[in-house]
């Protein structure tokens, strides 16, 4: 705590010199944040306190809402008595609020020279040629696996689908499952689809599907499910995964009953808490399926937005400049804070095995493109129908025809 405090004080001093001395902000800045897990909560509270201290005439009011609850509360919060700044997600997930005019256009911020360093996420923040918020963190997805079990069985990180299947067979023969997954809340199945589809058909095809430009009954989509089915028929996934949440599926990998987990980097903290140290846990990029398409990676971006009904726009914009500045991004994404990747290109990446590997992967080995995630790339309604179908497919792969027809029906209605 002391160390964080010292760092904050230094940060305040540095920032004070750089940009904010010219502005005298007054009044109240109301922030509603969904960073409710312990580590992110501390980060958010630190940011608010720091910003408050930097501007003597400004009072920062911070309200933290449970992350899941916020997903249903944000609409009310934005339309009745809107705060100045809120947390949300990039890409399609912000579309309803942009369309309803509840988020403020912040294109002028993006025109400032400092924002050139955030260019990698500009696309995910852009709708109708305007930007509607700023990113503060993102994180890679990938296959987290038990290094010690791989060593015991003499396996190495697979680079191709054949190697992946061969590894999996060896793991199954040793009496374990290849992958743990909990699909009770559906979205985890979306991750598998993102990867297998983008590895089979490429990023452009995947995004075209997300935009509703491709039929779900297209043979290329079927090919994706066929590849997926190879794993399902082998019995690669744990049984009864439809009953577990992603956290409830963790013990399988912690106890070594399953060997790998396709997940976002936020799972690392939970696995370390569960007793896996860095000698037992490692990470590899999802292997190649079709050598003719480039790697595309899931890397969801979390964001800050200004409500269109904000009372203190000046302070809100200053706060967005603050959270996107290089040193703030370095600090909040550090190993002892969020433990994720800073978006600002001038920030430094935390000295952590997984954050470093993820950064390396996303910077140099994601030539296909960066996907936001199934439930952010697809429109909300398509995502919810789609993920339910994916879950059913993972349990009853024989229902595929029926599932695809259902999704195609939904597509024709939703994108009309």
């Amino acid at each position: 705590m002391n160390r964080t405090l010292k760092a904050s004080v230094l940060g305040v001093a540095a920032l004070g010199l750089m940009s904010t001395s010219a502005l005298a902000l007054e009044g109240t800045l109301r922030i509603i944040s969904d960073m409710s897990n312990p580590a992110p909560r501390a980060v958010m509270e630190g940011l608010a306190a720091e910003f408050d201290e930097m501007h003597p005439d400004l009072t920062v009011e911070l309200e933290i809402v449970d992350r899941e609850a916020w997903k249903t509360q944000i609409r009310n919060a934005l339309s009745a008595n809107p705060p100045d700044v809120v947390n949300w997600y990039a890409a399609n997930r912000m579309l309803p609020y942009v369309n309803a005019g509840l988020f403020m256009d912040v294109s002028d911020l993006w025109d400032e020279p400092e924002f050139a360093a955030l260019a990698s996420t500009e696309g995910a923040m852009t709708i109708d040629g305007k930007q509607w918020g700023v990113p503060y963190t993102y994180y890679q997805w990938g296959v987290y696996y038990r290094e010690d079990i791989f060593n015991e069985l003499g396996l190495s990180e697979p680079a191709t689908w054949e190697e992946e299947l061969a590894n999996c067979q060896a793991i199954l023969d040793s009496g374990r499952k290849c992958y743990t997954i909990g699909t009770k809340f559906l979205w985890t199945a979306g991750g598998w689809f993102d990867y297998i589809n983008s590895r089979t058909n490429g990023y452009d095809f995947h995004i075209a599907l997300a935009r509703g430009e491709v039929e779900w009954t297209d043979p290329r989509v079927r090919q994706t499910f066929e590849n997926w089915r190879q794993l399902i028929d082998m019995g690669a996934f744990i049984d009864d995964h439809q009953t577990y949440s992603w956290q409830e599926a963790l013990p399988f990998i912690l106890e070594g009953e399953a060997t790998a987990y396709l997940m976002g980097n936020f799972a690392v903290a939970a696995m370390r808490d569960g007793g896996l140290d860095d000698s037992m846990l490692d990470f590899y990029q999802f292997p190649v399926i079709n050598p003719n398409v480039d790697f595309a990676e899931d890397a969801p971006t979390d964001t800050f937005h200004i409500a269109s009904g904000a009372q203190n726009v000046e302070a809100a914009k200053e706060f967005l400049r603050f959270v996107t500045s290089p040193d703030v991004q370095t600090r909040i994404n550090g190993g002892d804070a969020l433990g994720q990747l800073p978006v600002n290109a001038n920030s430094s990446v935390a000295d952590d095995e997984f954050i470093q590997q993820g950064f390396e992967m996303l910077s140099n080995n994601a030539g296909g493109g960066i996907m936001q995630f199934f439930d952010r790339d697809f429109p909300a309604e398509m995502a919810s129908v789609g993920m339910e179908g994916l879950q059913e497919f993972m349990v009853f792969p024989d229902n595929l025809d029926d599932i695809l027809e259902r999704l195609e029906d939904a597509r024709q209605r939703i994108y009309e």
């Binding site: 339309s79 309803a100 809340f185 009864d240 909300a380 919810s384 059913e392």
Partner: protein
């Protein structure tokens, strides 16, 4: 001073005179006004608003777009989720009624005077007091495919593991079973109070005539429990139709949406994480409303008939 008092006295006197004349008719309404107001603002008006919204396409934020009966047409012709929800509601409706005989049975069992009976009664009543969310959690642990108590019990009898909440054919029944636990306690307490009102002289007379066991129960006790049965029936039907929290806690509508009921589907469409279809949600709510209205009208009718008979 004196004149002022006199004149004001006159004024109140006149007002009191009018009020006095109509006191019997007015007083109940005066007491009812706050209740009527709240009921109108929070119940009656929203019902009409829901019906109005159900004829629109609306994301809850922007402008409403009139679509006529399109929502209902889709709902009733080709919406599989609606079919699943509707039939699950029917399952709930019938199976939930098991709470009534079960409650009666436990009430008869507990209606005796032995040492510590109050403690037993409270223990049986306990599930009704705790929150539905807790009931849901406890039962989902009970059903867990590997560690759950249910599978441990089944293993004793050499039966294989079942994953009740993960099986689309069993999950709804699993949730209904969980719901029956508190509902049975509720019916039990209704019957216990009913049993207190059973006329001991009639029981005595029946005993002299040689009635006992089933005959005593069927011809003497049950007719006297009719008011309790009626209330138990009402609360159970309403409870079955508004089942929501258990589903939300135990399966979140899954697996693959097989445990949805109308109220949960309405919530999903209009208020949940991916729900942006207020109009469609409202249409589901209206259908559910008419379903409930059917039962409520029947209840009101039979109450009215009984009242008339009693007069």
């Amino acid at each position: 001073m004196a004149t002022v008092t006199a004149s004001s006295g006159d004024a109140t006197g006149a007002r009191r005179g009018w009020y006095k004349r109509n006191e019997i008719a007015l007083t109940p309404w005066l007491f009812l006004i706050p209740g009527i107001l709240f009921f109108a603002v929070y119940v009656i008006i929203p019902i009409f608003q829901s019906v109005w919204i159900s004829f629109h396409e609306w994301d809850g934020l922007g402008t409403m777009e009139w679509v006529g009966t399109a929502n209902y047409e889709r709902l009733l012709t080709d919406d599989r989720k609606f079919d699943v929800s509707f039939w699950n509601n029917v399952r709930w409706l019938f199976l939930y009624l098991l709470a009534i005989p079960a409650g009666l049975f436990i009430a008869l069992f507990l209606n005796q005077t032995v040492f510590g009976i109050r403690l037993y009664k409270s223990l049986f009543f306990f599930p009704f007091v705790i929150s539905q969310v807790v009931v849901g959690l406890v039962f989902s642990w009970f059903y867990l495919p590997r560690e759950g108590l249910l599978n441990a019990l089944l293993a004793v009898f050499g039966m294989g593991p079942v994953n009740i909440l993960g099986d689309p054919n069993l999950a709804t029944y699993g949730i209904i079973a969980a719901g029956l636990w508190p509902q049975t306690a509720y019916c039990m307490i209704l019957y216990l109070t009913g049993l207190n009102a059973v006329d001991p002289e009639q029981v005595e007379a029946a005993r002299l005539d040689g009635a006992k066991g089933w005959k005593m129960l069927w011809y003497v006790i049950l007719p006297q429990l009719k008011p309790a049965t009626f209330i138990a029936f009402v609360v159970t039907i309403i409870g079955a139709l508004r089942s929501f929290d258990l589903i939300s806690v135990m399966t979140n509508g899954g697996p693959f949406g097989s445990t949805r009921v109308l109220s949960f589907y309405m919530f999903e469409e209009s208020l949940s994480e991916f729900g942006f279809r207020m109009g469609y949600g409202a249409a589901i709510a209206v259908v559910l409303f008419f379903l409930m209205l059917f039962f409520i009208a029947y209840f009101l009718y039979s109450m009215w008939r009984d009242e008339k008979g009693a007069r």
